[in-house]
Amino acid sequence: MGGRDATMVLLDENGIRCDGRKIDEPRKIMIRAGGLKNADGSAYIEFGDNKILVGVFGPRDVHPKHMSNTDTGILRVRYHMEPFSVDERKRPAPSRREIEISKVIKEALEPAVMLEKFPRTAVDVFIEVLQADGGTRCAALSAASVALADAGIPMRDMVAAIASGKVADTIILDVNNEEDQAGQADMPVGYMPNLKKITLLQLDGVLTSEEYKKCVTVGVEGCKLVYEIQKQALNDKYFGKKGD
């Protein structure tokens, strides 16, 4: 259970990061499509030490009725962390951080989900962070995309996400918890790989104009790696055993 030392060197003279990774190396990622019995669609992701479960319901009736839209369906996202998911136990009630992340993820998915096909309905995305270790919103968004596809919700594209950042004046890919806390910048990126659109972008930290350009580019390239794993997850569940 011993954690990594937060005062550790974030980038050593060989270009190796505090957890042994190279600067453009993401953590180990595993995504499983499906798994929940009652949800219409679901997905589970392990992104480094992050463990996140997503369940999707919909399209379904909207209650209260005044929240529904006659022209288009609505998307609702709830990002929620379990009390045991973080180092210091978190109280169950939603925090301001969770509320903001819920909104940001919703807006990252909306360009992909074809809500206009289901007027007067809602699609609900429930994200549960079981264990957190930096980059939960990107992992959550990536899993949510798979869960929506698993539910059969029509989508224009998948949305893949990963955070790029800066430590020791160097642009890195996939910021872990220590790098987020002690590093110089953290930039979560969400990207639709076929339509080539960025749908989530935030920044925490200071970047020069050149660094900013590089950071976004590195993030977008990283999203493409995550997309391959999303494809694999859906492949394994739906196409795997049939062969081609």
């Binding site: 009652n38 319901f57 709830r78 009390p83 079981l130 264990q131």
Partner: protein, 272 residues
């Protein structure tokens, strides 16, 4: 546990017909619980954790152990708290927002079952009397619903507590300080096991599944400890039990509880 969707009359009739013949819809005997799958250490970063599958019901408990202030008039005892949350992804009828009475009841019944058995010895959890104690928090979340959350949540919390590791703290210059590298198993005194029985018509079934839960008229959850004593009990639902039925349930809970205790012990031993 989730609010009833439209009563499936056909389902209830079918279940009753089978019960009249001494059978259940999934082939189990009336006093037979479902297969219990226990996965220890599902959340490695927590102090202890366990994921339990009971049929298609799936729950996860994470235990966090950290220093805390003692309760005002109980300075010589640590803190033990058990919570439960029904996650909206577990069933289409679960709403977000503050917990409703059924979930609060679930949490409190599970908490009582463990607390009343004295499984966690809170007198061992004092760092400095009246100033600083150890808080043990068992937080349970329901991931998938298929009936009988009472037992699933109880087994998850018990398994998580049985395999939890607690760090050690001391006071240094009046500040609570972690003593590095001094982790030890959380001291526990007994293994509480809850057994929930549902009443459908005149029949009592152990560990009702989702369909049976919807068709139930009443239920009772009875928790026993390793000595075979009954330490907690909760009756719920809108019908009643006869005295004989209640006594019978007590005996069943001791017998079935003993079998299930072996599974919890095995899970604990698997980790040691």
């Amino acid at each position: 546990m989730a609010s009833k969707t439209v009563l499936d009359e056909l389902k209830r009739t079918q279940i009753l017909e089978l019960l009249e013949q001494g059978k259940r819809i999934d082939g189990r005997a009336l006093d037979e619980p479902r297969e219990i799958a226990i996965e220890i250490n599902a959340i490695p970063k927590a102090n202890g954790s366990a994921k339990v599958r009971l049929g298609d019901t799936e729950v996860l408990c994470g235990v966090k152990i950290q220093p805390d202030k003692p309760f005002p008039d109980v300075g010589d005892k640590g803190i033990f708290m058990c919570t439960a949350e029904l996650l909206p992804l577990s069933h289409p009828t679960v709403e977000t927002g503050p917990p409703q009475a059924p979930v609060i009841e679930l949490a409190r019944v599970v908490d009582r079952g463990i607390r009343e058995s004295h499984m966690v010895d809170v007198s061992q959890l004092v760092i400095e009397k009246d100033k600083s104690v150890v808080g043990v928090f068992a937080d349970i979340v329901v991931i998938d619903y298929d009936g009988n959350l009472f037992d699933a949540c109880s087994y998850a919390a018990t398994a998580a507590l049985l395999t939890s590791k607690t760090p050690k703290w001391t006071m240094v210059d009046d500040k609570v300080t972690l003593v590095d590298g001094e982790e030890s198993p959380l001291p526990t005194t007994t293994i509480p096991v809850s057994v929930t029985m549902g009443k459908i018509g005149n029949h009592i079934v152990v560990d009702p599944n989702g369909d049976e839960w919807d068709s139930m008229d009443a239920r009772v959850t009875i928790t026993t400890d390793s000595d075979g004593n009954i330490c907690a009990l909760q009756k719920g639902g809108s019908d009643g039990f006869t005295l004989d039925e209640m006594v019978q349930c007590g005996e069943t809970s001791i017998r079935v509880g003993k079998q299930i205790r072996e599974k919890l012990k095995a899970a604990q031993e698997g980790v040691q």
